[in-house]
Symmetry: C2
Subunit: 289 residues, 2 copies
Amino acid sequence: MPATASAFVPGHVTGFFSVHGDEDPLAAGSRGAGAALSDGVTVRVEAGAPTAVELNGERSRIEAVGNVLDRLGTTARVVCETPLPISAGFGVSGACALGTALAVDAAEGGGWTENQLVTIAHAAEVEAGTGLGDVVAQARGGLPIRVEPGPPPRGRLDGLPARPRVEYVSFGGLDTGSVIGGETGSLSAAGERALSDLREAPGVGTFMAASRQFAREADLLTDRVADAVDDVEAAGGEAAMAMLGETVFALDGGLSAAGYDARACRTSGGARVLDDVSAVPGGADAPRD
Amino acid sequence: MPATASAFVPGHVTGFFSVHGDEDPLAAGSRGAGAALSDGVTVRVEAGAPTAVELNGERSRIEAVGNVLDRLGTTARVVCETPLPISAGFGVSGACALGTALAVDAAEGGGWTENQLVTIAHAAEVEAGTGLGDVVAQARGGLPIRVEPGPPPRGRLDGLPARPRVEYVSFGGLDTGSVIGGETGSLSAAGERALSDLREAPGVGTFMAASRQFAREADLLTDRVADAVDDVEAAGGEAAMAMLGETVFALDGGLSAAGYDARACRTSGGARVLDDVSAVPGGADAPRD
């Protein structure tokens, strides 16, 4: 019988970022800042079973998950469940990749360190072209700041100590690959300015303001997102766009207060193996850490 | 009225370590590995109030907490509560220091990053002579491996991805200052061997075996600790000594199975600001992350 294990990986919204490409997926990455969410992905694996991947009950091809299994030199049935919108800026593919790495290691009784598994999942996600910074941020949790791009030991993380409640609403997806695979010079310059602002005056207010400025400067705002951000501000709250999706996130009850039908969650700790395969994370029921 | 905020910091037991002294508290530290526990310390601060420190309802002088307030340039009433034994190898002083740093920053509305607050608490603890590695491990959570000594950006952490249940029993304290302040050459050599073993075959079994070997080689085992570790192994479990206390920790129900009246908890995520000052963490009620 194949060995089973489960992991939980938080969702992750990025407020601003800069692209740091490299031929080597262990050196490629992004700088930036975001929020890890208690709405995330639960990944259950049957290590050694023929490889098959499910997302929310449907057979799915998540390239980053296949890449992780290849790098671990194993096969597995991988069952991912999430309340998060897909391809809308929540890092679902990175969460599936990292959750697969953690759960396969647990099912096989160990053999890897967390940094090694994070590095494998990061490389798998970069090779798939679906993300540059979610995996390292999801591994850390909180409000992660990607100070130096890439996975350990090259990458460096910091974080904001606050743990605000977060609301979000998504109007649809944006194609991550077409943005981070295209011309990113002015986007990255805007991201570096935002990071510099945040490091000069660390705090949640600076993070949200720098994120809004980044979305404008990088020319990524859509009308619906811009309207929602403005509505939240008009109602006295703080909101920004989640990179890269047509998605708005707000602190505390900001979106509800502005009349939006938003989903609420908490800032989450980092990705972790679950010690009970029957645990059903998500929202207020997210696993304890 | 002074602003209030709270933080939770996990307890931390070290299985093995090596001492890396330095005149500069930002460069001093330890290598080693341990476990962050859901039994920890909740710290509530009233920032700006005259400085006064309480531990479990009694006025207390915790030098590391005073050092943190000095470094933050503020005063505060600091109320620490914990179910953990004091001075018995659970990192309570480090937890009080880190919790004070996180809670004061939250009460004052931000201004510091997590790495900055960890660095302040680490330096405060080193200056007090009460620890070298607990603070960075408590900030990270899980089963932390201190790969390079000291706080960010010098220090480097990794971790084991497992999240076992942990039991512990304490027979009393050992004086951390007299051990880490004395001749530590052979202790550190044993600690480096243990770390090398763990990095060669990462896993919880290696961690526990390397910890037992370290305690023997460093000549820190007391009779009561040695007996309890043997009893757990005889009952089919895994146990080791918590550095530095006359304390035994075991995986899962290892101590209970061997007939000891042990306290049970979980592996915990890292230190975090609490968003509800009425939360009462500890054991099964530890705050979600």
